[in-house]
């Protein structure tokens, strides 16, 4: 597989990897100073801050008319402000990610509060084992409080990520996007909450890096840079979580928006290339390979053998996707 020229690699490192990774590390460290309990909100803040940092540029931000700084023009890859008349749905991906991150945190807190409140009211002072079946019903109730807002949020943001034209032609693009986003969110969220450390964030980072490669073969350097930026931030969050043994489920919703958003929702905007459709789908659905680990028997298996199996399960579809893309299309650098 041909590699990008060194010059372009260094530029991507300086403009995407370092700002995103540095921003995420800084924020994660600040939150971890408050303790491991702050890691979830810290990871959510870190992914947002990292993207803002990687997407920020002062070029062309000074108004030629007033000489003042125009915040809306300080973006490098994705506009901060979505133009309602714009037909480019990918402009809405950061807005979708922000909404999902906020809803993810708030719904989790609501669920925890509801569970704790109802639990204490029904059987104060009792242990979980003593409470028996009522706690199971409460657990389901609390989960409904968590997932109903999330399902609603995914449904709303999916409307931003499918163009009016595509939505009018068929309901399937939006339906598949909603299903993909919800399945990824559910699987990764459950797995990220039952095991400390950044393993799940690392899988999401791998998926985003693979998305970057496939998008580069699709002749979209802009989308590649976005995927690499978010992937780098996610990778740093994974490292911080690994070092501190913290839970970082707060960052997952950003990946839920960016991964299917870039690789599936933005496909209609990409130029016609020879990259096969299966490459995009394999990358978007790679996190679903972790689904077997939702089975209670497997979910808490954390030995190196099971970690290896999980990593291989995610890596295999990603590698296949990248190889297929490389076999069918060339990188745009050489000729340009």
């Amino acid at each position: 597989m041909p590699l990008p020229p060194l010059k372009n690699t260094i530029e991507a490192l300086l403009q995407d990897v370092l700002p995103a990774a540095g921003g995420a590390t800084l924020i994660m460290c600040l939150f971890l100073l408050l303790g491991r309990r702050a890691a979830a909100i810290g990871s959510a803040t870190a992914i947002v801050f990292a993207f803002v940092w990687a997407n920020f540029s002062l070029d062309n931000s000074i108004s030629s008319e007033t000489g003042n700084l125009v915040w809306a023009n300080t973006y490098r890859l994705l506009p901060w402000k979505v133009d309602p008349s714009s037909t480019s749905v990918w402009h809405s991906i950061p807005r979708a990610a922000l909404i999902l991150v906020i809803v993810g945190l708030l719904s989790r807190w609501c669920g925890l509060l509801a569970f704790w409140y109802l639990h204490e009211r029904r059987l104060p002072g009792a242990t979980l084992a003593e409470r028996g079946s009522p706690s199971f019903r409460l657990w389901w109730g609390a989960n409904l409080l968590v997932w109903l807002p999330r399902i609603s949020a995914v449904f709303v943001v999916s409307g931003w990520l499918v163009s009016e034209k595509d939505a009018n032609e068929s309901p399937w693009p939006r339906f598949t996007l909603v299903a993909t986003m919800l399945l990824i969110w559910f699987i990764l969220d459950v797995l990220a909450r039952v095991r400390e450390g950044g393993e799940i964030a690392a899988y999401l980072a791998m998926s985003l890096y693979a998305a970057g490669v496939v998008l580069l073969f699709s002749h979209s350097a802009r989308f590649m840079e976005i995927a690499v930026s978010v992937g780098s931030a996610m990778f740093e969050i994974a490292i911080a979580a690994r070092v501190s043994k913290a839970y970082v489920s707060g960052a997952i919703p950003a990946g839920v928006a960016f991964l299917p958003g870039l690789i599936l929702a933005s496909r209609p905007s990409l130029p016609t290339t020879e990259v096969p459709a299966i490459s995009y789908w394999l990358v978007a659905l790679a996190p679903l390979a972790l689904a077997p680990f939702l089975i209670p028997f497997l979910s808490r298996k954390n030995g190196w053998y099971f970690r290896l199996i999980r990593a291989v399960l995610v890596l295999v579809p990603l590698v296949i996707a990248v190889v297929l893309a490389a076999q069918h299309e060339q990188l745009p650098f050489d000729e340009e």
């Binding site: 490098r76 133009d83 714009s86 480019s88 979209s220 350097a221 802009r222 016609t272 000729e335």
Partner: protein, 180 residues
């Protein structure tokens, strides 16, 4: 009978005068060469658009009344390199799948010493900005000629990708030779 003939004659005369007043010249990919040159630190690339449709209208032979309306098919973009052509079609630059059309419409034409100063609205990537440029314009023997070369800042239309690596100003050249 005489009244009817007079009416038909008057209508015919009016039609003849009207058609003589407004002369429309078709603008197509054949009659109009729309090219651009993009530059970067170590080189440049030529490109253009193969397909466009529109009209240039001149009233009473007065070129200061020139009105140009043209729709440019952005999917017909070409460059001096096949891979670059595909890249230009993508969301890094023209995003032709989302924005298959660019338009230009004159809003003001003023006669200067030897040229005409053309002002108009250029719509690309869903954004409309006013641009102004000098152009050589002539009309003789039923042939309309128009030529110009000027620069626009691509970032004014949100084409921001590659800032710092690819120069923001892009040189546009237009050459029209059209018969009515």
């Amino acid at each position: 009978m005489t009244r009817t003939l007079m009416t038909v004659f008057a209508l015919g005369l009016a039609a003849a005068v009207a058609s003589a007043a407004d002369t429309k010249y078709p603008l197509t990919g054949e009659t109009t060469k729309l090219k651009f040159v993009g530059t970067k630190a170590k080189g440049k690339h030529d490109g253009g658009f193969k397909t466009l449709t529109g009209t240039a209208t001149v009233t009473d032979g007065n070129l200061a009344t020139l009105k140009i309306e043209v729709d440019i098919d952005t999917t017909s973009i070409w460059a001096d390199d096949a891979k670059l052509t595909e890249h230009l079609k993508g969301p890094d630059f023209f995003g032709v799948k989302d924005n298959p059309k660019a338009t230009f419409k004159t809003t003001k034409v003023e006669k200067a010493d030897k040229v005409y100063n053309i002002t108009g609205d250029l719509t690309m990537l869903g954004k409309t900005k006013s641009i102004a440029f000098p152009a050589s314009v002539s009309e003789a023997g039923g042939v309309f000629s128009f030529s110009t070369e000027f620069k626009i800042d691509r970032t004014d239309w949100g084409m921001t990708y590659g800032k710092g690596q690819i120069d923001n100003p892009v040189t546009i050249s237009i050459a029209v030779t059209s018969k009515k």
